[in-house]
C-alpha cells in the first residue's frame, strides 16, 4: 500500500549521483584542508626559516644568515595570504611544488608514500575483515555460546589497547623476545606483518562485534525463517540470505571505521618506520616542509573521500533498496 515510486530511470543513476556528490565533497575537502593546514603551520611556534635551514644543513650549520637565505629563496617573508594563494593556484595547475627540505618534487615522493600507505591499509583491512567477520559470524550462530563470550572479551581488550601501545607490545614479543619478525623497515615481505597486525587487531574487534550482532538479528528475521521453511538447508540459508544481508550492514560500518584506519596509519607508520603518508607527514611537520605537509594531509583527506566512495558504491551493489523515499503512494 505504501510504497515509493518514481519516474523510471536507468540503474546507473544512483551510482552517478554518488560519484557527483563525492566529487563535490572532494573539492570542498581540498580547499578546507589546504587552508587549515596552512593556518596551523603558520601558527606553530618557532621561526619557519630556521627549522627549514636546520632540515637542510643540520642543526650545527644553522645561522641567522643561512636562515635569511632560506627565507629569501622560498619567499617566506611575503604575507601569509600570498603564500596560501600561490599554493592553491599551483594546486589548481596540479603542481604540488617541491619539498622545501630536499628540493625534490613533492608529487614524485607522494606517489611512493601513497602506494606504501595503501598497501598497509589494505593489508590491515583484509586481516581485520577476515578475522573479525569470521569470528563474528561464528559467534552469531550460537549467541551466548563459548565463542560468543570469548569474542566479547576480545572486543573489549582490542578496544582498550591504543595502537601505539599494541604496536610496542607486538614488537617486544615478536621481534625482541621471539625474534621472528622485523620490528621496522620496508621492502621485505615480513616487514608489513607487524604494522598491519597492529592496525587490524583494533579494527577486528569492532568488526567482530558488528558482524555478530547483525548475524543474530538477521537470523531472527522473517525472511531467514521463510527460507528455512521453503526447504533450504541451514548452510544454504546462511550463504544465500544471512551472509549478504550482514554484508550490507558490515560494509556501511567499515565505511565509518575507515577514518580510524587512516588515523591509525599515521601513528603506526611512525612507530614501525613504514615510509607512508603518515610517516612523511610527521617528518614534514617537524621540518616545517610546508608543501609536503599540505600534500600529505591532502592525500590522506582525499583517501578518506575515495574509500567512502568505494564503500557507497559497494553498498549500492549489495542492497538495491532506494536510499531515500521520494514519494509516498
Amino acid at each position: 500500500m505504501n510504497a515509493s515510486t518514481t519516474t523510471p530511470r536507468s540503474p546507473a543513476a544512483p551510482a552517478l549521483r554518488i560519484l557527483r556528490q563525492r566529487a563535490v565533497q572532494a573539492a570542498a575537502v581540498v580547499v578546507l584542508v589546504s587552508t587549515a593546514c596552512f593556518a596551523i603551520v603558520q601558527s606553530l611556534p618557532g621561526d619557519i626559516a630556521f627549522r627549514i635551514a636546520a632540515g637542510r644543513y643540520g642543526y650545527d650549520q644553522v645561522t641567522a644568515a643561512s636562515a635569511d637565505t632560506v627565507r629569501a629563496e622560498l619567499g617566506l617573508d611575503r604575507p601569509a595570504w600570498q603564500q596560501l594563494l600561490d599554493w592553491l593556484g599551483e594546486l589548481l595547475a596540479l603542481d604540488l611544488g617541491t619539498s622545501l627540505v630536499t628540493g625534490t618534487s613533492v608529487a614524485g615522493e607522494l606517489g611512493l608514500y601513497l602506494s606504501s600507505s595503501l598497501q598497509l591499509a589494505a593489508a590491515a583491512l583484509a586481516l581485520a575483515l577476515a578475522g573479525g567477520a569470521t569470528v563474528g559470524a561464528l559467534a552469531g550462530a550460537r549467541p551466548g555460546g563459548i565463542l560468543d563470550r570469548i569474542t566479547t572479551l576480545w572486543v573489549s581488550a582490542a578496544r582498550a589497547l591504543p595502537p601505539f601501545l599494541l604496536g610496542l607490545v607486538l614488537i617486544l614479543f615478536f621481534s625482541v623476545h621471539l625474534g621472528v619478525l622485523p620490528a621496522a623497515g620496508h621492502g621485505e615481505a615480513g616487514n608489513i606483518v607487524l604494522p598491519a597486525a597492529t592496525l587490524a587487531v583494533g579494527l577486528s574487534g569492532l568488526f567482530a562485534r558488528v558482524t555478530r550482532d547483525t548475524v543474530v538479528q538477521i537470523r531472527r528475521s522473517e525472511y531467514v525463517r521463510f527460507a528455512a521453511t521453503k526447504g533450504l538447508g541451514e548452510r544454504l540459508v546462511f550463504l544465500r540470505h544471512v551472509l549478504r544481508n550482514t554484508g550490507v550492514t558490515l560494509l556501511s560500518y567499515v565505511g565509518v571505521q575507515l577514518l580510524i584506519l587512516i588515523e591509525g596509519v599515521v601513528v603506526v607508520e611512525s612507530l614501525f618506520a613504514w615510509p607512508g603518508l603518515g610517516h612523511s607527514l610527521v617528518h614534514a611537520i617537524f621540518w616545517r616542509d610546508i608543501p609536503m605537509i599540505q600534500a600529505t594531509a591532502l592525500a590522506l583527506a582525499l583517501l578518506v573521500v575515495a574509500l567512502n566512495t568505494v564503500v557507497d558504491l559497494g553498498a549500492l551493489a549489495l542492497d538495491p533498496r532506494p536510499r531515500r523515499r521520494e514519494v509516498v503512494l
Binding site: 500500500m1 510504497a3 515509493s4 530511470r9 521463510f226 521453503k230 526447504g231
Partner: protein
C-alpha cells in the same frame, strides 16, 4: 496426503496457549481457523511446522503418511519443510529477502535447486508467469505491491510441491481484490489435491475458501463445522460475536453520527488537485472540502492513491496542480494523523510513559487528562510502564488515538487504522475513536480499502477509482 493431529498443546511455562485434542486434514478439503489475536491460532500453525519460539513448548502427535512425529521435538519435521509441508508466512513484505530478486527467492524453494540451479530458475520463472508475475520476476521485493509480494511468497512456498500448505494470516493488509486473488491461489492448491490449513481473522477469506471452519478462543476450539453453516448459523455465542464484529453487521447507532456534511466551518479545502506518479495519474481536478465535525472516508483499492490524497490534504505532499487551504482552527497541532501500523508511530525503545510525557510537556497539557482518556478507552494505567513492543496491536492503536486526542484536535486523519487488527479489536478500536471524535466534536477522515467499513463509520465516502494496472505494476523505485 492426509494429516492427523492428536492431543496438541502449546504452553508457555505453565500457561496453556493451545489445547486441541483432535484435528484432521483431508486432501482437497480446506480447513480454516478463525479467531481473534491471542486466541492461539497462529501458535497452532507453528506447532505443526515446528517453528515455535524457543520459550514455548509443544506436545502431542502428528501423523502424516503413516509416519508419526512427536510435536515436542521441533527438529524432526525439518526435513519435511518445503517438500511435505510448507508455510505461507504473514507479512510477505518481511518474508522476502530485500536483497534478492523475486525469481531467485522462488527458485531456491524448488527441489532441484541444490542439483540443477538452471532448471530451478526455469521452473520458478514459469510458476511466476503463471501467477501473472512474469515481469516482476526480476524485481526486488521493495518494488512489489502487497498483493504481488504475497503471490511471490506463495510461489516460493509451493514450488517444492509440498502437499500440506499452512497459511498464517495471509490476507493481512490486502485489499478486496488482492484477497480474492489470494483465495483463488489457495483454492488452486486444494484443487490440485493438496491439504490447506489457513489461519485468519478475515471471515471473508474463510467464506471464499469454504471447507471446514474452526473457531478458536482462548486456546480452545469452541465451534467447528462446514464454513457455510458456521458462518451463517453460528451455534456458539463467541462465533456470533465474531460475525457481529464484521463492519457490514455493525449496529451501533453512533456509527452514522457526526455532523451533517454541509453544517460546519470548512477545515480543509482542496481546489483542483492533481497528482501523478511514474507517469500515472492518481487523481486530477479534484476539489473537496472537509468541514468541522464531519466524517468522511477515502476508499479504494491499494494503489488508487488514497493515502497520497490524504497526504496532499494534510499538506505532507505538494499537489502537482491546485492548492490546499487549512483553516485557522487546525493550527497548533489540532490536525492529527493516525497511522496504519501503530508500532512504527511510537519510538520503539522508549517507555510509553515517556513518549506521552513528552507530548504533555510540549503542549503544556494537564497531565490528568491522560489518565481519564486511558480509563475511557478501557486501557489499564500500567500499560504506560511498558515499551511499545510489549503491548498488543489493538492496545497500541488505542494509545495512538489517545495521543492524538490529548491535543483536542479539530480533525483526525486515520490512515487504515485497523487494517492489521482482527475484527473484534477493529470494532473496539474504531468505536473508541468514534466515541472520542463525538465527545470532542472533531472531524474524522478515514482512509480504508474496506467499503463495508467506510459505510459503517462515515456518512460521506470519496471513492478513488483503481488506477490503471495499479495491481500488477512493478514499481520503479529509485
Amino acid at each position: 496426503m492426509s494429516m492427523r493431529l492428536t492431543h496438541l498443546a502449546v504452553r508457555h511455562t505453565d500457561t496453556p496457549l493451545v489445547e486441541v485434542s483432535d484435528l484432521h486434514f483431508e486432501p482437497g478439503r480446506p480447513v480454516t481457523i478463525v479467531g481473534e489475536s491471542g486466541s492461539g491460532k497462529s501458535l497452532l500453525a507453528h506447532a505443526i511446522m515446528g517453528t515455535l519460539a524457543a520459550e514455548l513448548t509443544a506436545s502431542g502427535n502428528l501423523t502424516m503418511d503413516g509416519q508419526s512425529y512427536d510435536l515436542a521435538d521441533r527438529a524432526n519435521r525439518r526435513r519435511l519443510w518445503g517438500r511435505a509441508m510448507s508455510l505461507l508466512p504473514q507479512e510477505p513484505g518481511l518474508a522476502l529477502d530485500p536483497t534478492m530478486r523475486a525469481r531467485e527467492q522462488v527458485a531456491e524453494g524448488a527441489g532441484s535447486f541444490t542439483t540443477d540451479r538452471r532448471a530451478a530458475r526455469r521452473s520458478a520463472g514459469t510458476l511466476l508467469a503463471s501467477l501473472g508475475l512474469g515481469q516482476a520476476s526480476a524485481a526486488f521485493p521493495h518494488a512489489l505491491s502487497g498483493g504481488m509480494a504475497q503471490r511471490v511468497a506463495f510461489a516460493a512456498a509451493t514450488i517444492g510441491d509440498a502437499p500440506v500448505l499452512i497459511a498464517d494470516e495471509p490476507s493481512k493488509g490486502l485489499d478486496q481484490q488482492a484477497r480474492a486473488e489470494l483465495a483463488k491461489l489457495l483454492k488452486r492448491h486444494v484443487d490440485a489435491g493438496g491439504s490447506l490449513l489457513t489461519i485468519t481473522h478475515d471471515l471473508d477469506l474463510a467464506r471464499e475458501l469454504a471447507g471446514d471452519v474452526l473457531v478458536m478462543k482462548d486456546a480452545h476450539i469452541v465451534e467447528r463445522g462446514p464454513a457455510r453453516r458456521v458462518l451463517t448459523e453460528p451455534a456458539h455465542p463467541y462465533t456470533r460475536r465474531l460475525l457481529a464484529a464484521e463492519p457490514a453487521n455493525w449496529t451501533r447507532p453512533c456509527a452514522h453520527a457526526g455532523a451533517p456534511a454541509d453544517a460546519g466551518e470548512p477545515l480543509i479545502s482542496g481546489e483542483g488537485l492533481a497528482k501523478a506518479f511514474a507517469g500515472q495519474q492518481l487523481f486530477s481536478d479534484l476539489s473537496l472540502t472537509i468541514r468541522a465535525g464531519e466524517r468522511v472516508s477515502l476508499s479504494g483499492p491499494s494503489g488508487s492513491g488514497k493515502t497520497t490524497l490524504g497526504n496532499v490534504l494534510l499538506r505532507l505532499l505538494p499537489p502537482d496542480t491546485g492548492y490546499v487551504h487549512h483553516a485557522e482552527a487546525l493550527h497548533g497541532g489540532r490536525l492529527q494523523k493516525l497511522y496504519q501500523d501503530p508500532a512504527v508511530a511510537f519510538p520503539s525503545r522508549i517507555l510509553l510513559r515517556d513518549s506521552f510525557g513528552d507530548v504533555i510537556r510540549r503542549h503544556r497539557l494537564e497531565p490528568g487528562r491522560l489518565g481519564k482518556l486511558m480509563a475511557s478507552l478501557r486501557l489499564a494505567p500500567d500499560l504506560l510502564h511498558r515499551m511499545p513492543g510489549q503491548v498488543s496491536g489493538g492496545e497500541l492503536q488505542r494509545l495512538a488515538i489517545i495521543r492524538s486526542m490529548l491535543l483536542e484536535p479539530a480533525l483526525v486523519f486515520a490512515d487504515e487504522p485497523t487494517s492489521r487488527l482482527d475484527l473484534i479489536t477493529q470494532q473496539e478500536t474504531l468505536s473508541c475513536l468514534m466515541d472520542q471524535a463525538d465527545r470532542q466534536q472533531c472531524a474524522l477522515v478515514l482512509v480504508t480499502h474496506d467499503d463495508a467499513l467506510a459505510d459503517a463509520v462515515t456518512r460521506r465516502r470519496i471513492p478513488l477509482g483503481p488506477a490503471e494496472n495499479a495491481i500488477d505494476r512493478v514499481k520503479t523505485a529509485g
